[in-house]
């Protein structure tokens, strides 16, 4: 099978899975919504985005960017430890394994137990994995040691997870292990035009602010308090169409009380807090608004280190600052299929480790 044939088959299988008449996907969405795992609006957003991004052309671009060869990793086995903080957050890893031709083992998140399995099932039906297994618990995966592991999560949990995988004979201590530990993104805006504020609202509030591509820090040439009414209008409109599924814990109110005592400018949106603080995120549901420009952005990038996923911009998209290429703000929650979590293309990484 040629590379083109293989990538076209993978793409066709995904396109077919995304069709509105796919009963399996519809059922998976229904169970996910009924189970309270994610909101229907967030799932629909993800599905709509995948329909736009997973095209033969884009898959071809990804294959070329990553140096994919036909049957590159046939006979190899890749274990994916999927997170579950966003609907279908493991989509790219599944697709990456399918493109390389490796066997797939997936530990599905208990927080997203229906959506990803429906994709895996669709790829299995089309014979696109040499061999594949998935389960909600490691005990239920066949004890076949993987040649590589794809993982997203906290740095300090890596060693514990490696030991667990060894116990379950799913991977050795020395098995190549791709760790993605980024936790948030930064937006640099230059104006408060309708386009900018709508993109910013989507980038901040989609998925309740969860996920490393979500914006937790904004750098703007104006204070948010100067335009708070306008901004909250956009937020309210967004929440009308996309009610926030996950509510913040009471610790958010505790933070609000603290800011109030400290005289920190803030806006309490009940489900979210916007505060005028130049600091790195340490709490979910908080947007840090920094009045400043390139100097402040550089400082934040340097302080963030590996915790930072992406820097988005409006006027400066495409520029590079402190080693970071600025991505369009509008792509925050709609990344290209070849986007690089923590700066690493999973296909290229697998090829480098296992070819």
């Amino acid at each position: 099978m040629t590379l083109h044939h293989h990538t076209a088959s993978v793409c066709a299988a995904v396109e077919s899975w995304l069709q509105p008449d796919n009963d399996q996907l519809r059922e998976a969405i229904r169970k996910t919504v009924d189970g309270g795992y994610f909101s229907e609006a967030d799932i629909r957003h993800q599905i709509r985005h995948l329909k736009h991004s997973v095209t033969p052309k884009n898959i071809g671009i990804w294959a070329e960017k990553s140096g994919l060869k036909p049957g590159s990793l046939a006979g190899k086995r890749v274990l994916c430890l999927h997170a579950g903080n966003l609907p279908l957050v493991g989509f790219q890893d599944v697709l990456a394994v399918a493109l390389t031709g490796a066997a797939y083992s997936g530990k599905i998140s208990r927080k997203d137990p229906w959506l990803l399995p429906s994709l895996i099932h669709a790829l299995q039906e089309k014979g696109l994995f040499d061999e594949s297994h998935y389960a909600l618990t490691p005990e239920d995966l066949p004890a076949k040691p993987a040649d590589a592991v794809l993982f997203s999560g906290a740095e300090e949990s890596v060693e514990i997870i490696r030991k667990k995988l060894k116990e379950h004979r799913l991977a050795g201590i020395q098995t190549p292990f791709l760790r993605r530990t980024a936790g948030f993104s930064i937006a640099w805006i230059n104006d408060n035009s309708r386009d900018t504020m709508e993109s910013l609202t989507e980038a901040v509030f989609r998925y309740g602010g969860n996920g490393c591509r979500s914006v937790a820090v904004v750098v703007a040439p104006f204070r948010f308090t100067d335009h708070i009414c306008g901004f909250t209008d956009y937020v309210e409109s967004f929440w009308l169409a996309n009610p926030q599924h996950q509510k913040p814990p009471p610790s958010l109110f505790h933070r609000y009380a603290y800011n109030r005592a400290m005289g920190i400018s803030q806006s309490w949106l009940h489900d979210f807090l916007i505060e005028d603080t130049m600091q790195l995120p340490d709490h979910k549901f908080v947007l840090h608004w920094v009045e400043g420009g390139e100097k402040e952005l550089r400082q934040l990038i340097e302080q963030s280190g590996p915790r930072l996923q992406s820097v988005y911009g409006t006027a400066h998209a495409g520029d590079t600052i402190t080693g970071r290429t600025i991505e369009p703000l509008s792509s925050a929650q709609a990344p290209p299929v070849w986007w690089k979590p923590d700066g690493t293309d999973p296909v290229r990484w697998l090829l480098e480790q296992l070819s």
Partner: protein
């Protein structure tokens, strides 16, 4: 204000008085508490567990002060370079002395022990609350034998010969990394009957290690039993200390209340065995802020003792986190 240390008064009563003082005299804490609906005129019978605890970073970001007049001492937490450091404004050092004495002499006495401090001296670090405490203890020893040891110099039997001749035991105070340095310098074992109080402070050491590993190395290195290796839990932001005698479980003195608070809801007190952030009410902090939510991770046992498990790590709260406890 010595009613704080009056054990005949129930803690709740003393706490209520201190809360009232804070609400009347500390505008920052008042604003914080008011946000939770707490007003000075409505605190009668208020449970200490229902008092909102101010996040400890407030000591870095503001001057927490509930007294008139200038502070007599300003303690600063350790830190380097651009690190934000906590500032504790102390209006009345006599309260600190009382808290030190009542905590320390409950467990140790100068009839039995001589205190040796393997830490910088007061002249080198006058802003450290720990060094201030140790200097106070050294000054309090009527025998005059207690002292600071020379940093970077290993301990030998000569170091303690006068103490041993006078039939006293050695009580060695030091931060964990300093004590490890002493062992690496091939210090000789401590005289029989000696004890150690380690004061925490592993974060600047060359490598991380568990508390259990630390205890093993210290007991073997100094030739003492585990029962003689004690820990002290104190910090720049607190005027009182907790001690863990011969183990890792700390007990608070009667003018302090330590609880474990849910990180998701700091108003909720965790059940024994449930991990959370360590919350502290230290009545000796009357003139600064007695109601503090630390960033230390801790757990309580059924007897009301607590263990310090490290720092609460806020990283990866938003990221694509694979949570071990949920998933494996």
């Amino acid at each position: 204000m010595t009613f704080i240390f009056d054990e005949n008064l129930p803690f709740e009563k003393r706490c209520e008085a201190v809360l009232g003082h804070q609400l009347e005299n500390h505008s920052l804490y008042r604003t914080f508490a008011n946000t939770f609906g707490i007003r000075a005129e409505e605190i009668s019978g208020y449970s200490p567990d229902d008092i909102p605890l101010l996040p400890i970073r407030a000591f870095k970001q503001a001057a927490l002060y509930a007294a008139s007049g200038s502070p007599e001492i300003v303690f600063r937490s350790s830190g380097t370079g651009d690190m934000e450091r906590s500032r504790h404004l102390v209006a009345d050092p006599s309260l600190y002395r009382l808290a030190i004495d009542k905590g320390f002499f409950r467990h140790f006495s100068f009839d039995q022990y001589t205190v040796f401090c393997y830490t910088p001296g007061y002249a080198d670090n006058p802003e450290s609350s720990l060094i201030w405490m140790l200097q106070h203890l050294v000054d309090s020893d009527p025998s005059g034998l207690s002292r600071f040891l020379t940093l970077g110099k290993k301990m030998t039997q000569n170091t303690f010969s006068t103490t041993v001749r006078q039939d006293k035991k050695v009580l060695l105070f030091g931060a964990a990394f300093g004590l490890l340095d002493l062992i690496e310098m091939d210090s000789e074992p401590l005289p029989e009957g000696s004890a150690i109080i380690e004061t925490g402070g592993m974060k600047t050491h060359r490598r991380e290690m568990t508390k259990t590993e630390l205890r093993r190395i210290l007991t073997e290195g100094f030739g003492i039993s585990g029962g003689q290796l004690h820990s002290e839990y104190g910090m720049c932001e607190l005027l009182s200390q907790c001690y863990a005698l011969g183990g890792e479980w700390f007990e608070a003195p009667h003018w302090m209340r330590v609880t474990i608070r849910s990180a998701d809801d700091p108003m909720r007190v965790c059940q024994p065995g449930e991990e959370g952030k360590i919350g502290i009410i230290d009545l000796a902090n009357l003139w600064s802020c007695p109601f503090i939510l630390t960033e230390d991770r801790g757990v309580m046992d059924e007897r009301g003792r607590f263990r310090v498990l490290g720092r609460w790590n806020p990283d990866d709260m938003r990221g694509c986190n694979f949570l071990i406890e949920d998933e494996l």
